[in-house]
Amino acid sequence: RLTEKLNSAFKKLRGRGKLSEEQVKDGLKEIRRILLAADVHYSVVKKFVKRVENKAIGEEVLKSLTPGEQIIKIVREELQELLGGQREELGLHQHGPTPIILVGLQGTGKTTTAGKLALHYREQKKTPILYSADYRRPAAREQLRQLAEENQLEFYPEQYEDPRDDLPELVEYAENKSLNPVIIDTAGRLNIDQPMLEEIGDFQRLLPESRVLLVIDGMMGQEALQVAEDFAGVVQLDGLILTKMEGDARGGAAISAREVTGVPVLYIGTGEKAADFQPFHPERMASRILG
């Protein structure tokens, strides 16, 4: 376990007083390995370890902790800080429906998450409506329609071929029926597919009041950094959602994505059912990353 590994690295250097440079460097080699094993991006790990190093050297070792435990404490605090320190909420507009657009790579869990998000808002006594802008994937709209049906959620069937023609009418419909939020599922797309990235830019321009959430697979590796950066380059992102987190992937992709976009992780998906959805807790994530 982490503490044991660090402590064994430190046992010949045990002592009170300040953390020596050598103690810190030894500990950081292990921390670097742990963060890479947790899928945190190579460059983010480098910067992070430097930050911890500067904070740790010369720090007073607390009477109750060993040097190894002291370093872990600093790492944990810095990780939490990196993740935004505390929980954040996605605020809805008070007047008029809030469109929430889910975007991301193929297969990350957007459609499933759309259903989860709608259920989450209904449990908060809101009146959500679901719409699928995915005209590409076979049976994508049917998938969202079924999710809406089995959870008794409002669903807006497409009226046009191009979602850009649907969106204004969808929001108008929601306004008339006092529905809020309007949750919009989109087709999976690569961060290097320029026309498809342009499309979500168009969606946001059509609905300037919309929030855009990037859905990331919890087991994603190093590429999370570039992917998050590319999506943030074409739309204003308001939040990140990390899916499939009930598995044993450590979820370092969240660290990379947060670091490069400055956008908070708001929720995590913890299973395939609509109820498998939780708000994101930075301190729990920090513990998970450290294994």
């Binding site: 890479l36 899928d39 193929q106 998938q143 690569l190 087991m219 190093q222």
Partner: protein, 268 residues
């Protein structure tokens, strides 16, 4: 330990491997000899040879055909990796009498999705009701394939995390159904692995391989920016060959695996 490169070119090679999601232990194993034996010529060339050798050791990338019809192929893997799409692409490539078994009876519109592909390919899809027993679908589909003298039976299974013991047991049961019909033991159990998978990938494949004999990997979404380093660790540690790569979302986007092309992308 990563980050201990004495030579800048070796450090650059290590960074290339790490940033491509190659498993940490595999990276160490590959970089170590470069650091100690630096008189062996260009480290990049040496590394490239090592990597290609790892793939050659894992065996042939061809798909096996059973000598008694139907040949059964299973498509397995975690949620969203590209199983259903990969299965459709492979059928498109084969141009044979293929029957599809819609054994994902759990996920919303999984059956409809496969039926759409069946329509496009003009291939029959055997399915039951949503929520039904997937083993029964496999059993039924096998009977149909035998009865219709189909060349192949492709089984689409539900995505499942390897940490779900109950779902892994269910998969094992589905596999044994086909094994039970002696001559119809799955000839290939193809695990579809997303190229952007991180360090968790090895554990994923290892767990699946404990439940059924995974005979090949389909490395999907290689058209993304991901280099699929996860596959290198899987091949090295488990000896399972990568047979195919997914390079997009249409039926033509499937290719045989090439270690050379893979290596070029990996080492940039």
């Amino acid at each position: 330990v990563p980050g201990l490169g004495g030579d800048f070119s070796i450090e650059r090679l290590e960074a290339a491997l790490l940033s491509s999601d190659v498993g940490l232990e595999t990276v160490e194993k590959l970089i170590q000899p470069l650091e100690s034996g630096q008189d062996k010529g260009d480290p990049g060339e040496h590394l490239r040879k090592q990597i290609i050798e790892i793939f050659h050791r894992a065996g042939p990338v061809t798909l096996q055909i059973s000598d008694s019809s139907p040949t059964v192929y299973f498509f397995v893997g975690v949620n969203g990796s590209g199983k259903t799409t990969s299965m459709a692409k492979l059928a498109h490539n084969f141009d044979k009498q293929i029957i599809f078994a819609a054994a994902d009876t759990f996920r919303a519109a999984a059956i409809e999705q496969l039926k759409k592909w069946g329509e496009r390919l003009d291939l029959p899809v055997i399915s039951h009701q949503k929520g039904g027993d997937p083993t029964a679908v496999v059993y039924d589909a096998l009977e149909a394939a035998v009865h219709r003298q189909a060349d192949f039976l492709f089984v689409d299974t539900a995505g499942r995390l390897h940490t779900r013991r109950d779902l892994m047991e269910q998969l094992e049961k589905m596999y044994r159904v086909t094994v039970g019909q002696k001559s119809n033991e799955p000839t290939e159990s193809l695990l579809v692995l997303d190229a952007s998978t991180g360090q968790n990938g090895l554990q994923q494949v290892r767990t699946f391989a404990e439940k059924l004999p995974v005979t090949g990997i389909i490395l999907s979404k290689l058209d993304s920016t991901a280099r699929g380093g996860v596959a290198l660790s899987v091949v090295d540690e488990l000896g399972i060959p990568v047979k195919l790569v997914g390079t997009g979302e249409t039926l033509d986007d499937l290719a045989p695996f090439s270690p050379e092309i893979y290596c070029d992308a990996l080492l940039g």
